[in-house]
């Protein structure tokens, strides 16, 4: 394939600008004879159109190998390999070599060699100077794809690459009535005024409390909590709201809920993305949970976000004791989806999660060539790769190299049971010493370690927690550009250093270190224009239900522009000023009237801004699968609120009653129910969850044993059983499931349903999951309705 060197290396920038203006193209044309142009138009262009344009023209949207054959500059400057044509010298022209099929590795067009006559015409054309079309399009937006000089020029003015600076608040809040006490509201009100819309009224207290509970903890409030809040709000709404927000942010559920957002970003899982064919088991990461617990704990402790990032990237280089709880942070890399056997992919994954996950820049795209759309030369990719290639990983099952974390404290009974089981497995391993499997010669002892022992370590609550760590090699290896991503085609050596777009000097990191800590400091820095903006936008989207930048992991030239650029910057600046406090950021957002608006729609708003981009109302939000599951367990009185520890099964067999964040995530075979509910595949960093509505979701709420069990539990509580009559039973169900009293019409309708379902009672039927009563179905109906699964 013809492939190119960088176009700007051939055409200096000033010349390039002139080309755009058509000056040079014009002068070139003047020298050409009309006859040459006619030759091109009559003989050559038809051949190019028929045989080459499919892969090398703007019309087809393709410039494979970086080569365009629909303009003179295309073949003169050539593609990634070299110039395609040397005017006057057919034998020195790659294009001619390619169409002659002289070189086994360079044969174009790939389907079939052209006939000799056509080849002769091309030779003749090159001999005559490879004159171009009469209407040469010169440089176009399309032909500049991948032109790094051009992209850097574009990037110079790009909003997301500008430093985060203090923003002046819009003035005169008084004209907007009550709005404007929280800075967020001034920005939002300003934008609304521009589209002639007004903000909505505040949500009623019961709705607001449910919203706060779900957004801050992932669980609904109880009927009693709602009642208490509504009463308090009648006296002083603002004070009651403030108090309640503080209480929820201080609750341990805060980190469990917001932590899940972070786990989506860091593609968290309890296995890698492969499995062992002979034992049919996944490659367990038995200690990944210590990283998940670190995330939850850090958010609950309000660890400054810059420190949080640095620890995840480089805790091993920050002077912590080997068994310090912070060492678990390294699971960010160490518990990734690729095993050390797939080193190239593992490094690619680390580059991707670091750049796209933390900074919203798609640097992993520069693995094979300079980024086509962003200011990321391929050298940048290999600079980062050098940093990560210096880290040695530990086998996830290796207990000798992963320190025990004293912070995890199972009960003595759990430990005793673990030790008993462990001793049995250890004995089995000893007994298998030296034996090999018949069919593939693998050590039996190793197989037991990978299956029985790995499962015990992963799931048993008495098993210890260990930190999945990294350690830098003594001497960091040199990093080279791999040409077109091919490890066997080494290009120039590149120093370990930061991205050029964010660090134009690109000073190399110290020779004797991997540079991972230095990289962490460049990213977790107030001077980095992306880090704070990207995170603030993620949290905003999590709480508000729509993002300011709708491409949360792409803040580059291709990303969306923020709907409220000043607000985003103000939030980022405010976040930095408050020492990267995540709790402050969350409090700031949920305290705003923007957040607290009613989600009710109205015609004017619907007509002017149906997507609610300008936030004239609150967004109705569908609960995540985790929140649906946890809420069901909660209203059924079944939720086990313990924090941290080993993962459990979410809904299979003897499922755990703990929160869904403690569910076992098998990357290789992601649970079908999770998948049906838009849980992101944890093999790449996830910008945001999709929102699909599909029948398997309905089947889950209709028939999954977990749901049936919760419906049964709701109506077998002692409180419920004490109630004698249907009507108060119904009221009790509405209160416990939906947190409110039913109205008269609802009671009437529900009573009809009760009567109908009673007809199916049959005392002779064997008892089953659904006890012989209409009530579980009624309770389930409430769990299935929209009101339960949405937040207003």
């Amino acid at each position: 394939m013809l492939a190119r060197s960088r176009r700007h290396a051939v055409v200096p920038f000033a010349v390039f600008t002139a080309l755009v203006c058509g000056l040079i193209a014009g002068s070139v044309r003047a020298e050409e004879s009309a006859e040459d142009v006619r030759f091109y138009e009559q003989k050559i262009r038809p051949l190019l159109v028929r045989h080459c344009y499919e892969c090398h023209s703007e019309e087809a949207g393709e410039q494979q190998g970086g080569l365009l054959l629909d303009r003179r500059s295309g073949w003169i400057e050539g593609g990634e390999t070299d110039k395609a044509v040397v005017p006057g010298q057919p034998d020195a022209s790659l294009l001619v070599t390619a169409i002659r099929y002289d070189d086994d590795n360079l044969q174009m067009p790939p389907d079939q060699r052209l006939d000799d006559e056509a080849i002769a015409l091309f030779e003749q054309w090159v001999q005559r100077g490879a004159i171009g079309p009469a209407d040469d399009m010169g440089e176009t937006e399309f032909s500049r794809l991948g032109d790094q000089e051009y992209l850097f020029d574009q990037a110079a003015g790009h909003w997301a690459f500008q430093p985060v600076a203090p923003v002046t608040l819009p003035s005169s809040p008084s004209s907007r009535g009550e709005w404007g006490t929280n800075a967020i509201d001034r920005f939002v009100a300003d934008s609304l005024a521009e589209v002639a819309l007004a903000p909505s009224d505040p949500a009623d207290p019961a709705t607001l409390l449910r919203r706060l509970h779900h957004d801050l903890t992932g669980l609904p409030p109880t009927y009693d909590q709602i009642t208490a809040f509504v009463e308090a709000a009648q006296i002083d709404r603002d004070a009651a709201t403030r108090q309640w927000i503080d209480r929820l942010i201080a609750s341990p559920e805060f980190g469990q809920h917001l932590g899940r957002l972070w786990l989506d970003v860091v593609r968290y899982g309890d296995t890698d993305n492969n499995y062992r064919p002979d034992t049919r088991t996944p490659h367990y990461h038995p200690f990944a949970f210590s990283y998940r617990d670190y995330v939850v704990r850090s958010l609950n402790d309000d660890k400054p976000f810059d420190q949080f990032l640095k620890e995840q990237m480089a805790a091993d280089l920050m002077g912590f004791a080997p068994d310090a709880p912070e060492m678990a942070a390294l699971g960010f890399y160490a518990s990734g989806p690729y095993s050390s056997r797939a080193q190239a992919e593992a490094l690619d994954d680390w580059i991707d999660v670091t750049t796209r996950g933390l900074m919203g820049i798609t640097a992993a795209c520069a693995r094979c060539h300079d980024h086509k759309f962003e200011p990321v030369p391929t050298a940048d990719y290999y600079s980062l790769r050098g940093v990560f290639a210096a880290a040695a990983r530990v086998n996830p099952l290796d207990e000798t190299k992963q320190p025990i974390l004293a912070s995890y404290r199972p009960t003595p009974a759990e430990v005793a049971d673990y030790q008993k089981k462990r001793a049995t497995i250890d004995a089995k391993i000893d007994g298998a010493d030296g034996k090999k499997a018949k069919n593939n010669n693998r050590s039996i002892a190793q197989k037991i370690r990978e299956t029985e022992l790995a499962e015990l370590l992963t799931f048993h609550p008495g098993a210890p927690a260990r930190a999945m760590v990294l350690a830098d090699r003594k001497r960091p290896p040199e990093s080279y550009v791999f040409i077109r991503g091919d490890a066997s085609a080494r290009g120039e050596a590149v120093p370990r250093r930061f991205l050029k777009i964010l660090d134009p000097q690109q000073d190399a990191f110290p020779q004797d270190s991997s540079g991972r800590l230095e990289l962490a400091e460049k990213i977790a820095s107030a001077g980095n224009p992306l880090t704070a903006r990207v995170f603030v936008n993620r949290v905003w989207g999590h709480l508000i239900g729509s993002h300011l930048v709708t491409t949360p992991s792409d803040f580059g030239l291709q990303g969306s522009r923020p709907t409220h650029p000043e607000l985003l910057d103000w939030l980022a600046d405010d976040f930095l000023r408050h020492d990267w406090s995540v709790k402050h950021l969350v409090r700031r957002i949920v305290s705003s009237q923007t957040y607290q608006q009613s989600s009710r729609s109205h015609e004017a708003g619907q007509a002017a801004d149906p997507e609610n981009r300008w936030l004239w109302r609150g967004n109705r939000k569908h609960l995540s699968i985790e929140a649906i599951r946890d809420s069901m367990l909660l209203v059924a009185g079944q939720l086990d609120r313990r924090i941290g520890g080993h993962p459990g099964r979410l809904w299979d067999g003897d499922y755990t009653r703990r929160r869904a964040i403690y569910g076992f995530i098998n990357r290789f075979n992601l649970d079908p129910t999770l998948r049906a509910f838009d849980f992101p595949a944890p093999v790449q960093t996830q910008p945001a969850r999709g929102e699909s509505i599909v029948a398997p979701q309905a089947l889950f709420t209709m028939n999954a044993p977990l749901v049936i069990d919760q419906a049964a539990a709701i109506v077998s509580s002692a409180d419920f059983l004490r109630i004698k009559h249907d009507r108060p039973k119904l009221v009790s169900l509405f209160q416990s499931v939906l947190g409110r009293d039913p109205d008269a019409a609802e009671i009437a309708r529900a009573l009809k349903l009760v009567e109908f379902q009673k007809r199916f009672q049959n005392p002779d039927r064997p008892p089953s999951r659904f006890i012989d009563s209409p009530w579980p179905l009624i309770a389930q109906a409430l769990l299935m309705c929209n009101e339960f699964q949405y937040v207003d």
């Binding site: 094979c368 593939n440 109705r620 790449q684 509505i693 599909v694 029948a695 028939n703 109908f756 199916f760």
Partner: protein, 495 residues
């Protein structure tokens, strides 16, 4: 529910402005619920919601007149030996038992072969069949009778020599996890035709899911509505399809009516059209409870059909899955993917030896495949159903010598350099063979076809220009044929 249905229709238009619909819905609401043109406000990196431009091309789907409406993909997981089935190599017979020449081993990586292996001639006799004179071994006696329907591609090759990555490459265009499967792309591009069944159904037999796991029918970076739904041929065909033991359909109906009324009230109060979609989601699930059970009920087929396929209702078998594939195709399912495990004929154990389990595997698939092709043709379905058969790579012309020793059973190692696939129906030129391997079937040498070429070609038959059906992810407009790899439409195999 008529009134409700009208309301759903009415609100659909409004919803489109609020949520991003990935596809125009030419068939009304049919597709909303299961795969296809579903609500999927997925935020891709490039913000599908705000950059509809990146999808402009796909809005014009199909890009050209489709030759096939649906696909039945028969994946022989583990990779059957082309040298014992379709790629007849008399020259290899001559070399049987000789040391493998060093030139064949230079620069090669094998999964298990060590040192100098022996060459291994075809283990079964071949004969020319049908009017087309295709060479087929005696392991496929029934298939021999349908070769004139089929186009063989003997020059398939891949870059991967381990099962997992090779299967991912064959189904998603990328050897790593995270890309969307062919079926998911098809749903994304063309949507569903069925109101009552998922549009992309996966059936697995042979006692094992594919090495690459469920990702081979996953949606990768595409919204999850497009992923395949794995169904089972015994028990509940779909996860959570059955009501709890003591609940009848009548009770369920009433309960759903009640829920719909509660939701309707919420809709009246909030005006949020998404609520109506949720209502229809329950309706769809309810219909599916009836229709999926019906579609998967093989008892409905007559004796003659069972004799044709060699099937027994209630068993899990490849044959049952073939018959199910035909029933699903009749019911408008767009993409039907079958996996049959057990073709990894290394020869390390009898169950996976060319002179052992391989024979059983052939018997398991031979009759049902011939029956499926005949059945589809008789029902007029073959002309717009694209049937694809193959493994993820080929097998070596050398005998496997695990540990450097001759093994008790006969087998061959993995060979990414050459394998055979065949296609039939929907726009495929029948009765031809395309591409060639070298004299011993080791490397594809003439008219080579990569998985990317295959994807480009199959999408073409479905009316999709593989370069124009794209989705922004990780800063690139991704496509099935893999934007970073060369690919071409193999026009020569099209009718």
């Amino acid at each position: 529910m008529k009134n409700l249905h009208d309301q759903v229709q009415q609100e659909y238009a409004r919803l489109q402005t609020r949520k991003h619909f990935l596809k125009n819905c030419s068939m009304g609401l049919a597709g909303i619920w299961l795969g296809g043109r579903s609500i999927a406000a997925g935020l891709s990196d490039a913000g599908a919601a705000t950059q509809p431009d990146s999808h402009d091309d796909s809005h014009a789907l199909p890009h050209f007149a489709p030759r096939a409406k649906r696909v039945i993909f028969l994946h022989m997981a583990g990779s059957p030996s082309q040298l014992e089935l379709f790629d007849y190599k008399p020259a290899l017979q001559q070399l049987d038992g000789q040391d493998c020449p060093a030139s064949f081993l230079e620069g090669k990586r094998f999964a298990f072969i060590q040192g100098v292996p022996k060459m291994l001639g075809p283990q079964y006799p071949f004969r020319q069949c049908g009017d087309s004179g295709a060479w087929v071994s005696d392991r496929m006696p029934h298939f021999q009778s349908v070769v004139d329907e089929v186009c063989f591609v003997k020059s398939m090759h891949t870059s991967q020599f381990n099962h997992g990555p090779a299967q991912l490459l064959l189904h998603t265009g990328n050897q790593n996890l995270g890309s969307a499967s062919f079926g998911a792309w098809t749903m994304y591009g063309l949507g569903s035709e069925s109101e009552n069944l998922p549009g992309f159904i996966v059936l697995v037999s042979g006692g094992k899911t594919p090495s690459a796991g469920k990702s081979v029918w996953g949606s990768g970076f595409l919204p999850s509505v497009y992923q395949g739904v794995q169904c089972r041929s015994k028990g509940d065909p779909v996860l959570y399809l059955s009501n709890p033991d003591s609940v009848s359909m009548q009770q369920r109906r009433r309960a759903l009516d009640a829920i719909n009324r509660i939701n309707q009230q919420t809709f009246n109060e909030t005006g949020d059209p998404e609520i109506l979609t949720r209502i229809s989601q329950y309706e769809m699930a309810f219909r599916m409870q009836t229709h999926a059970a019906e579609a998967f009920d093989l008892q409905q087929e007559d004796k003659a059909t069972h004799a044709l396929y060699g099937t027994e209702p209630g068993k899990e078998s490849f044959g049952n899955n073939c018959l199910l594939a035909r029933r699903l195709a009749e019911r408008g399912v767009r993409f039907i993917q079958l996996f049959h495990w057990g073709w990894d004929s290394h020869g390390a154990a009898e169950s996976e030896a060319l002179n052992g389990g391989f024979k059983t595997r052939c018997e398991e698939v031979d009759r049902p495949i011939a029956a499926l092709l005949n059945d589809l043709r008789q029902r007029g379905l073959l002309e717009d159903t694209l049937v694809v058969w193959g493994g993820e790579f080929g097998r070596t012309p050398m005998r496997e010598n695990r540990g450097g020793r001759e093994m008790k059973f006969v087998g061959r190692d993995h060979n990414p350099g050459a394998f055979t696939m065949w296609m039939a129906g929907g726009g495929i030129k029948p009765g031809i063979s395309y591409g060639e391997t070298d004299e011993i079937g080791y490397e594809a040498i003439v008219d080579k076809v990569s998985p990317h070429d295959l994807h480009a070609t199959l999408q073409h038959l479905l009316g999709i220009d593989h370069k124009r059906l794209t989705y922004m992810h990780q800063g690139l407009p991704q496509r099935l044929s893999n934007v970073t790899q060369p690919s071409r439409v193999v026009k020569e195999i099209m009718a």
